[in-house]
């Protein structure tokens, strides 16, 4: 699959901690704790103690300014050789995918032989910011040269200034939450409540079944007493999901379809994926699950409503598939990140739509049909949860494991992100 003169970037394996609903099991754990623990589990799984890796890239969407060197500091907390460099990445919910994709490229080009890519996010330990007024006063006091100047500055503080500002998850340019944006898109594509609930139910069932058959035994390491994703509801039913009231798009009245169950919960968690060249993997007696073939970033103009906020992967996929001369029928498995059930369904409808593919993607015909039995076969974000930057690593490691032992079979990944962005990727089993 890969272009000539570049070597394969091999996915060796992954590790993540179980994902936890915000303010639950990891309420007292910060990003650095979670990322360090995840890396420690990865090091233990593959015996990487004392090894100097090419580089480690990870990131967090919700990040304290004190964690400016989050990934490097986390690496220093592991048994990896401290001479292993690290850097932080951030591309909203696509952070993990961007970290892994860019590292795969470095390996393909021969710049590095090994790497870890991943991400972490904590809603429970999100940075709380002081008001701009208070910050202004504090900075003024900091610049003051005399005590009286300092006191004068500080005397301007009023009780109202002390109210903390919680980090916003609304789109800065529209003021709408991601859910409200998605509700508009879902309505435009005519996505029904029933198909969203079915997708959500399948996510929980598939994830629970994967746990039960031990699929995650070598993908997940427990953390703080949590063994499985605590958002997972293995006993959920369509009846129960059907009783929930809409959470987004309420102004649509009867036509509102998005509930708390078919939308992803806010979650804490971390993930990491070990990558290497073929030679490096062989030299260290490590498994070769799959090759990272290609990835593509995309963005859409959502601000004036020309396209839905979370539809960027539709465009990225079109370019990526064309470059690789592939259609959706060519993929053994598809992993479409379930930001919302309707996100997955809208992307699928777009790719299957002759009209959309011709008019918006500039293609001759639709990109193919998507076999639902190959979609998110081990569950996805609706069940597992979605610690923003950690989702990419979860998907890449799980899909690579599913494709292992099926040489040449292809897997497709789509992850949407805030700001009208997204990433798609292709991996190939070996």
């Amino acid at each position: 699959m890969s272009a000539q003169n570049v070597r394969d970037a091999v996915i060796i394996g992954g590790n993540r901690i179980p994902f936890a609903r915000a303010h639950s099991a990891y309420a007292t754990a910060g990003n650095q704790d979670m990322l360090t623990s995840t890396l420690n589990g990865l090091v233990a799984r593959f015996g990487l103690q004392g090894q100097q890796l090419g580089t480690v890239a990870a990131g967090a969407v919700m990040k304290h300014s004190k964690n400016f060197n989050l990934t490097r500091e986390s690496v220093l907390g592991t048994p990896l050789d401290p001479k292993t460099p690290a850097f932080d990445v951030q591309m909203a919910c696509a952070t993990g995918m961007e970290a892994i994709g860019s590292l795969a490229n470095k390996i393909k080009l021969g710049q590095i032989d090994s790497a870890i890519g991943g991400g972490v996010d904590s809603i429970s330990d999100a940075p709380i910011v002081v008001t701009d007024e208070l910050r202004g006063i504090l900075m003024e006091a900091n610049r003051a040269k005399t005590l009286s100047q300092r006191l004068k500055a500080l005397s301007k503080i009023r009780p109202a200034h002390l109210a903390p500002q919680a980090p916003g998850v609304n789109e800065p340019r529209t003021g709408l939450s991601m859910g409200e944006h998605m509700a508009i898109t879902a309505h435009a594509w005519g996505i029904t409540r029933a198909e969203q609930d079915e997708l959500a139910l399948a996510s929980h069932k598939n994830l629970a079944a994967a746990y039960d058959r031990g699929f995650f035994d070598d993908l997940v390491t427990p953390f703080k007493g949590l063994n499985r994703d605590n958002n997972m509801r293995a006993d959920s039913t369509l009846e129960r999901l059907g009783k929930l009231s809409p959470a987004f798009g309420r102004d649509l009245g009867e036509e509102a379809t998005m509930t708390a169950a078919n939308s992803t919960a806010l979650t804490d968690g971390a993930s990491a994926v070990l990558l290497g060249s073929e030679e490096w993997a062989d030299a260290h007696d490590l498994p070769k699950l799959a090759n990272f073939i290609d990835y593509e970033e995309g963005a859409v103009d959502f601000v004036d409503g020309a396209e839905g906020l979370l539809m960027a992967p539709a465009y990225a996929a079109a370019r990526m598939l064309k470059r690789n001369n592939l259609r959706f029928e060519d993929f053994e498995y598809l992993e479409i990140h379930e930001a919302f059930a309707s996100t997955v369904l809208a992307q699928i409808k777009a790719w299957e739509s002759e009209e959309f593919c011709k008019n918006k993607l500039g293609l001759d015909s639709a990109l193919g049909t998507i076999d639902r039995s190959r979609l998110n076969v081990n569950g996805s974000s609706l069940a597992a949860g979605h610690p923003f930057a950690a989702t990419g690593g979860r998907i890449v490691a799980s899909l690579a494991k599913e494709l292992h032992g099926k040489p040449g079979k292809l897997g497709f990944i789509s992850v949407c992100a805030a700001g009208g962005q997204g990433i798609t990727a292709i991996i190939e089993g070996r």
């Binding site: 420690n40 031990g214 490590l286």
Partner: protein, 455 residues
């Protein structure tokens, strides 16, 4: 780990006087193995003029020990090796026994008495067998009489085995050393000339690959650490739910963590696949994982009974079938090592003596001993060995939950007047897994400080 405050107190100056005057137990600080430390801290006296006495004395001289045939009445003695391998009637024991007795008061703290004799079951002659069996009795009683952390154990040589066999030297060195600190009143049988002596006695497991189940905590974690210290690469297995601790231990010993429920049907195959992928070989299997679900038999339910049987014995039987069917678990195939594969299983003194409320646990652990005895022949065909270790009262998180008074009694109920440490069990396992233990197979060796239970 619970703190043994009594032992701490009894080892202070005042505590020593007080416990002595009141006739209370006097637990000593046991001398435990540290790499690089001398094998013995003083002279080793060899008693008896037999074939074994000559072979073992020569061996010990080769190790640089201060070996004596006779010693002055004032001199301190680190160990006495009493050889009875030529006795053919009980009347012949007296000379060596009385000489041994006269030396006991000269023994240093954590001193050693090691008897050497021929296997009683190797003869049909009533007088010979009586004499050999008598050595067992006198060894056990001597162990009860030892003071200040001293132990007494025996080496049982097969009837026609040359005493210069590596297995005899390996057992002797183990019993002399701090590795056997909590082993007393026990016998190590050496049946064959198999095995090899290591080039470096501090790293006997060099280049070996070992798997330890239940390695996330307690005795299992200690086994992983000791096997690593002794040179092995370690695969650490535990249930997925114990993964966080497992990863921490794996990183500590530079091993690889394998999250796996050993009751899974293909657990053995998955361990083999992991070993193949990461190491290309598998030499040592330590079946340590086990659970307790105590209940009086009258109140026993099927969940408690079945889970203990499934984890503690059925899983081992199933995994062993997989290992024995595999070409990988045949370390002679790697050439040069001079040792075949090793299996060491965790039994328990409960499996020997039984324990109220532990019909399920005792059944499973007695089962382990039976399995080990029966698997010995299969291991022999690949020059390997299988043995069991039966711990007595060991200071772990599990025994820390025993009520204080019960725990205090359990601790003092052995010849060393204290509980053992996880490392004591681990040292014995590492010994049985080593090339120098190649002559010993099918044995259940107790690490219990000569606990009165199940003696």
């Amino acid at each position: 780990m619970p703190k043994d405050l009594y032992t701490d107190f009894a080892n202070t100056g005042f505590g020593r006087t007080l416990t002595k005057n009141l006739g209370l137990p006097q637990p000593a600080r046991l001398r435990r193995h540290r790499p690089g430390q001398p094998l013995a801290r003083g002279p080793v006296v060899v008693l008896g003029t037999t074939e074994a006495s000559a072979a073992l004395a020569e061996r010990m001289l080769g190790w640089g020990l201060d070996v004596r045939r006779h010693i002055g009445p004032k001199e301190k003695v680190a160990a006495v090796v009493a050889c009875f391998d030529s006795v053919s009637t009980p009347a012949q024991l007296s000379e060596v026994v009385l000489e041994l007795g006269s030396l006991l008061k000269q023994l240093m703290p954590s001193g050693r008495v090691i008897t050497v004799f021929r296997d009683p079951t190797g003869t049909h002659d009533p007088a010979v067998r009586a004499a050999r069996s008598a050595v067992q009795g006198l060894t056990r009683s001597t162990a009860h009489e030892m003071r200040a952390g001293g132990t007494a154990n025996g080496i049982v040589l097969a009837d026609s085995l040359d005493a210069s066999a590596p297995g005899a030297a390996g057992a002797l060195r183990f019993l002399l050393s701090g590795r056997s600190a909590f082993v007393s009143g026990q016998f190590i049988s050496v049946d064959t000339v198999n095995g090899a002596l290591p080039q470096d006695w501090d790293r006997p497991l060099r280049d070996q690959v070992a798997v330890v189940t239940g390695a996330a905590r307690g005795i299992g974690a200690s086994i992983a650490r000791v096997l690593r210290r002794d040179g092995a690469s370690v695969i650490l297995v535990d249930i997925p739910a114990a993964g966080e601790q497992l990863a921490a231990v794996a990183n500590e010993v530079s091993g690889t963590a394998l999250q796996l429920d050993i009751t899974t049907q293909d657990a053995g195959e998955r361990i083999l696949a992991h070993a193949t992928q990461h190491y290309g070989r598998l030499d040592i299997v330590v079946h340590n994982a086990g659970i307790t679900r105590d209940k009086l038999l009258a109140n026993m339910d099927d969940a408690r009974w079945n889970s203990v049987i499934a984890v503690n014995i059925e899983s081992q039987l199933r995994m062993n079938r997989a290992f024995l069917a595999s070409e990988l678990f045949n370390s002679d195939a790697h050439g040069g090592s001079g040792m075949g594969p090793r299996i060491v299983s965790l039994a328990s003194t409960s499996g020997i003596a039984g324990n109220r409320g532990q019909t399920n646990y005792a059944a499973s652990k007695a089962g382990v001993m039976g399995m080990v005895a029966a698997t010995s022949a299969q291991m022999a065909s690949r020059h390997g060995t299988i043995n069991a270790v039966a711990p007595g009262f060991i200071e772990t998180e599990m025994t820390a939950k025993i009520p204080f008074a019960t725990r205090e009694v359990a601790r003092r109920l052995n010849s060393l007047n204290q509980g053992g440490l996880p490392v004591d069990v681990a040292e014995t396992i590492s010994f049985l897994a080593s090339p120098q233990a190649g002559g010993t197979s099918g044995l259940t060796l107790r690490v219990c400080g000569q606990n009165l239970v199940g003696a």
